[in-house]
């Protein structure tokens, strides 16, 4: 699947008096082609998460369109857009995102319970946990996980529906070097398997896994020189 942003921007209003607004993301074009891992780096506060959330269908752009295989995400109503995200866009959000009332295994299976008559089997969910290296924690609740384990849970959960697009917001934030490489190569495998993958990261080593690298600065996205 291809995900394409056409002239998307996002304006935020600052708390305070008057019409005090700014653009966290300036009008941006970006294409995530199937089979590619695209990396975006940039300082904290530069607008990376804002762009990623717009691509995920979670944040309405102020201008522009987001097209998934030609379908304008924001022309759909919330119900249809949500189904599309459930089926086709795996999102690994920034931060800790385990649901505390579900075990690790239940967390991973949850997306498959939302619309599908046939929920994902335990075997498949366990295989995903195996892939991210936390299979032994399947019956543990997220409050007992370390930051890195929680991040890997989010990765397994984003992959459970086998989406065509994978959007990862700093997925290696809490990981040690060894696990960072494991996760980055997993994302690369996903791209090689045909998914369109977006990786937002601070990691310098990430570039070696990416097909293309962009830099975000003050809401402006520019292509970085390769290698």
């Amino acid at each position: 699947m291809d995900l394409r942003a056409e002239g998307v921007s996002r304006r935020y209003f600052r708390q305070g008096k008057g019409r005090n607004f700014f653009f966290a993301v300036q009008e941006t074009d970006l294409t995530l082609p199937a089979g590619n891992l695209i990396e975006i780096t940039g300082r904290s506060g530069s607008g990376k998460s804002t762009l990623l959330n717009m691509l995920a269908g979670l944040l309405e752009p102020t201008t522009g369109r987001v097209l998934l295989d030609g379908t304008d995400l924001y022309a759909l109503d919330d119900g249809k857009r949500s189904i599309l995200r459930n089926r086709s866009i795996g999102v690994i959000p920034q931060g800790q995102t385990g649901l505390h009332s579900l075990t690790v295994l239940e967390n991973v299976k949850l997306p498959s319970l939302m619309y599908d008559r046939q929920p994902c089997s335990d075997e498949r969910a366990e295989a995903l946990l195996e892939r991210v290296g936390i299979a032994h924690l399947r019956d543990v609740y997220p409050n007992e996980l370390s930051g890195g384990e929680m991040r890997r849970l989010a990765i397994a959960r984003a992959l459970v529906m086998d989406p065509g697009v994978l959007l990862a917001d700093e997925p290696t934030g809490d990981l040690d070097d060894e696990n960072t490489h494991a996760v980055l190569s997993l994302l690369r495998q996903c791209a090689d398997g045909g998914k369109a993958v977006l990786l937002v990261t601070h990691e310098r080593e990430a570039a070696q896994y990416a097909h293309a690298v962009y830099t975000m600065s003050g809401g402006i996205l520019t292509a970085a020189d390769q290698g």
């Binding site: 804002t50 959330n53 919330d78 189904i83 459930n86 999102v91 920034q94 949850l110 959960r157």
Partner: protein
């Protein structure tokens, strides 16, 4: 919807303290409305049965300071008592214009000493004249009462041999009456011949009940039915003017005291219920608003996984509906557990006729209270659910937000 049901149950289980607090609030809703309506219904029932059991337009009792009070104590509290007047007064009442029927009654309190099986109120009636007691007895016993037969109120325990002895007169229990919620539930009914026998025995046993009245010619009260076309209060006045030494009173005015009591209790119970409801609902609305604020991130994560805004709202509504259902069921059960076994104590405490409706009616009340409480409890989350559905997940997802 599988997703909402599954997740709401897990959420409730993993947050037991939060769930328990909300369940408790919901329980107050159904407890108060079911309990309140059951008490009020029972009081209304009690009043109706009291009115029906009186069955007369006017009651005349001897004009003694205590006679009227004693009479009402017998009827309302079941405190055994007696008073007598010569039967000539009864004869005089019959001659008053507008009196269609007049039936004497005879009251005797049994004692707990050896001559009696149990200390209760005995009420005798003249089968020829009576029009207030026999219609009720007929509900439980088709024949006319023979000499030595008694019918007992619903609260008396019937001995194995089926007899009770009063002033050495052994009586056969032929039937037990339905509950009335009044003092009459502990009374014993018998015909005039039997009670006169008991009265004579009592006198010869040395009980000085009769002062200067001859027990052979003593009556206790007269039940009066007014002929059509006559004004009850005028007839009452006529009796009071023309027959000295007795006091006639309209039964409606006797009942009005109880009706006043009932409307006072209803107002208090109703006011309390409204207060509890307003309080519980306000707290529930605030609680759900706080909880959903606290859970904003959780809901955003669900949106990330592909839940629609509607699904997330529905999750919160399902949780509140489940909590309300559990709470309301507990509340109804608790109210039933308190009110049904202790109806006697409540009746005594309120000092008003108190008759619980039949099981079917109680179940209907409970079902109504349950439905109303679940509805109200579920709706308290609606505002929060609506607010959640309007939030953009992408805004909530920012770390620290």
């Amino acid at each position: 919807m599988r997703f909402a049901r599954l997740l709401s149950l897990k959420n409730m289980k993993r947050k037991p303290a939060r769930t328990a607090a909300l369940v408790l609030l919901a329980a107050f809703l159904s407890l108060s409305i079911f309990g309140g309506s059951l008490v009020i219904t029972s009081l209304q029932n009690g009043l109706r049965s009291y009115e029906a059991r009186l069955g007369a337009d006017i009651v005349a009792v001897p004009y003694q300071a205590r006679a009227k009070g004693t009479f009402e104590s017998i009827l309302l509290q079941g405190i055994p008592g007696m008073f007598y007047m010569d039967e000539q007064y009864y004869e005089k009442i019959k001659t008053i214009d507008g009196v269609e029927r007049a039936a004497p009654q005879f009251y005797l309190a049994s004692t707990s000493s050896g001559c009696c099986s149990v200390a209760v109120q005995i009420i005798g009636f003249d089968p020829e004249q009576d029009f207030t007691v026999q219609p009720w007895i007929r509900d439980s016993y088709a024949d006319t009462l023979g000499d030595g037969d008694i019918v007992v109120g619903s609260d008396l325990t019937i001995p194995k041999n089926g007899t009770l002895t009063f002033y050495n007169t052994q009586c056969r229990i032929v039937a037990q009456l339905d509950k009335t919620g009044t003092g009459l539930d502990t009374a014993v009914y018998t015909n005039m011949n039997t009670i006169k026998q008991m009265m004579k025995n009592a006198e010869s046993l040395g009980f000085s009940y009769f002062a200067d009245v001859d027990p052979d010619h003593a009556v206790s009260s007269v039940m009066i039915k007014v002929a059509d076309g006559y004004d009850v209060s005028e007839v009452t006045g006529d009796i009071n003017v023309h027959v000295r030494h007795i006091e006639a009173e309209q039964t409606t005015s006797m009942i009005s005291g109880i009706a006043d009591g009932l409307s006072n209790v209803s107002r208090i119970v109703g006011g309390l219920t409204v207060m509890i409801w307003v309080l519980a609902i306000v707290i529930l609305v605030i609680a759900f608003a706080m909880i959903s604020h606290e859970r904003a991130k959780e809901f955003a994560i669900l949106r990330v996984m592909g839940a629609s805004q509607r699904m997330v709202s529905r999750l919160l509504l399902t949780e509140s509906a489940l909590i309300s259902l559990i709470g309301a069921t507990l509340g109804v059960a608790l109210a039933a557990l308190i009110l049904v076994p202790f109806s006697g104590a409540i009746s005594t405490a309120l000092d008003l006729p108190y008759l619980m409706p039949e099981v079917g009616a109680i179940v209907a009340l409970a079902a109504g209270a349950l439905a109303l409480s679940v509805l109200a409890g579920s709706l308290t989350a609606a505002v929060s659910a609506y607010r959640i559905s309007k939030k953009e997940a992408g805004l909530i997802l920012r770390e620290g937000a």
